[in-house]
């Protein structure tokens, strides 16, 4: 067992004027996750510590937070990767609801704005809308997004301008723009070709580094930019 010092940013708007830091010491294994250390605090020391988590193995995207200054999933970061002196803070750029929980509604509003569903008004065929393995492969990477918000909240363009649609929404637009069965490209690209659309991306690559699913986010954004410039995803 390892003794780990956890310094956690706390903020309860019911009682606190400002966020502050509190330090806890917990015993965990080096192969435990940072999430286990947070649970050790919540379950056995301080039940008021508040964070989101659900699946606990990097699939649901609930527990993205800043761990030693870097956006990561607490359930996908092992203690041995980050050492025994760990600082945990909420994602940047959104209102703090409580402790490590931020208000993600603006994030999901941006996500919804790119129409992240299959658009196709053609009469449905007798059976499935078929797609070749190559056509499916075209957007495989961007199907992996779990909407954890690690990318968007690591983006300096987003920090400077919260109206920026953000990398996560663009990734999800990409997932449908490059889907051979989709017919919604014109609508989506019109939304993304606005002041706060793709052009606020300055290719900083923070999003790509932050993604816990290893999606090549910046590359996907570049493809969407090209789709606008060249007049459609099929021209890219």
């Amino acid at each position: 067992m390892l003794k780990v010092k956890l310094t956690i940013q706390r903020f309860n708007p019911e009682t606190d004027a400002e966020p502050h830091y509190r330090t806890y010491t917990v015993e965990v294994e080096p192969t435990d996750r940072v999430l286990d250390a947070l649970h050790a605090v919540k379950w056995y020391q301080d039940g008021t510590l508040t964070f989101r988590r659900s699946c606990a193995h990097g699939v649901c995207g609930s527990d993205a937070m800043r761990i030693n200054g870097i956006n990561r999933l607490a359930c996908k970061t092992l203690i041995k990767q980050v050492g025994t002196d760990i600082t945990v803070e909420p994602l940047l750029g959104f209102r703090i609801i409580k402790d490590l929980v931020v208000d993600l509604e603006p994030f999901f509003a941006q996500y919804r704005s790119v129409l992240p569903w299959l658009i196709n008004d053609e009469p449905p065929p007798e059976r499935e809308r078929l797609q070749s393995p190559e056509e499916r492969e075209r957007y495989d990477e961007t199907t992996k997004c779990i909407l954890c918000a690690a990318c968007t909240t690591s983006c300096p363009s987003f920090w400077a301008n919260p109206e920026f649609v953000g990398p996560a929404a663009i990734v999800n637009a990409h997932r449908f723009l490059f889907d051979s069965r989709d017919r919604g490209a014109a609508e989506r690209l019109a939304r993304l070709n606005t002041r706060d659309g793709v052009w606020r991306c300055r290719t900083i690559f923070n999003c790509t580094r932050a993604c816990p699913r290893d999606i090549p986010v910046t590359e996907a954004i570049a493809e969407v930019k090209k789709a606008i410039l060249y007049g459609g995803p099929e021209q890219v």
């Binding site: 192969t31 039940g47 508040t50």
Partner: protein
């Protein structure tokens, strides 16, 4: 797997695989005599492993530091999916009784629901049917229903029972915190009500549940805030987990046969004459009342499972 499913081998259904793993471990053939086995993917080659099993590969690399292309993966059976649940019809409408009476305006879909497509043993990937087919059907039915009806009359102060339940926990000053109770529930259910069951274990589990429920009546939270109180949510959820565990154990104890993932060591054979029926659990005076409804057989006749 030759010993357990001579034809299908490793591709046998997951209940068969789980029992095989459990037996091997129990008979002392776990790795180094311990409580796990090795899963070998090394014969598949890098391309197949990375292409077809990307998530498993990621889990194994992240949490175990093992490369599944070249190394063996330690595995053991675990609880994965609830095959029972809130009974619904094919439009997601919640059913109240064995006569399939729907409760108007109440819908369930997903893992919480039981449309009865999975029977006693859900096959791999079929959980998607719950959302893609029945989630959609429930949504469509709901949309049509709300268009066709007005708001029903509400009883006076309808939120009161829920508010009282929440406030009882939130305002309690002394008692036991929730995690020890939750942990003991988890561990005891794994021992007595998981892959193998028998009357002795299930009866012991009923006693354990009575003890845990007694302790739960005094559960206390440290977070008494009104905002995003996850400790309070966890405490409420623990109460529901105890209720659900009680229904699982009661119906498993009553069902003196083995069917799908329900395996009774004291009744290892399937008994269609007495048990080809769905169990329905009702809360009555703090206990569980079981009733049954017949299984509707259409295209596929039940037959012996030989793999």
């Amino acid at each position: 797997m030759e010993r357990y499913a001579p034809t299908l081998l490793d591709l046998a259904p997951r209940d068969v695989i789980s029992r095989a793993m459990y037996l091997e471990i129990r008979e002392g053939r776990g790795i180094d005599g311990r409580d796990y086995l090795h899963l070998d993917l090394t014969h598949l080659g890098a391309e197949v492993v990375l292409k077809k099993l990307p998530d498993i590969t990621d889990f194994v690399r992240t949490y175990l530091g093992i490369d599944p292309v070249k190394e063996l993966i330690p595995v053991q059976p675990t609880a994965h999916y609830a095959m029972g649940g809130i009974p619904t019809d094919v439009d997601g409408r919640v059913l109240l009784d064995e006569k399939n009476t729907p409760l108007p305006g109440f819908y369930a879909a997903g893992e919480c629901a039981c449309v009865s497509v999975h029977g006693a043993n859900r096959l791999g990937t079929n959980s998607l049917v719950d959302i893609l087919v029945f989630g959609r059907r429930a949504g469509r039915h709901m949309a049509a229903y709300v268009r066709s009806t007005d708001l029903p009359p509400l009883p006076e102060r309808p939120a009161e029972p829920a508010r009282e339940e929440i406030e009882a926990i939130r305002s309690r000053r002394e008692g036991e915190r929730l995690e020890p109770i939750r942990r003991e529930l988890r561990e005891a259910m794994m021992v007595h009500a998981s892959v193998f069951r028998d009357a002795g274990g299930l009866t012991a589990m009923q006693k354990k549940l009575a003890e845990l429920k007694e302790r739960y009546r005094r559960v206390v939270v440290q977070d008494r805030g009104q905002r995003f109180n996850t400790e309070l949510l966890d405490a409420l959820a623990l109460g529901y987990m105890l209720d659900i565990s009680e229904t699982v154990v009661a119906s498993a104890l009553a069902r003196t046969e083995s069917r799908g993932a329900h395996y009774r060591e004291d009744y290892p054979k399937r008994d269609d004459a007495n048990w080809l029926k769905h169990s329905l659990a009702f809360r009555r005076d703090g206990g569980v009342e079981l009733r049954y409804k017949p299984v509707v057989i259409t295209r596929f006749q039940p037959k012996e499972r030989v793999y």
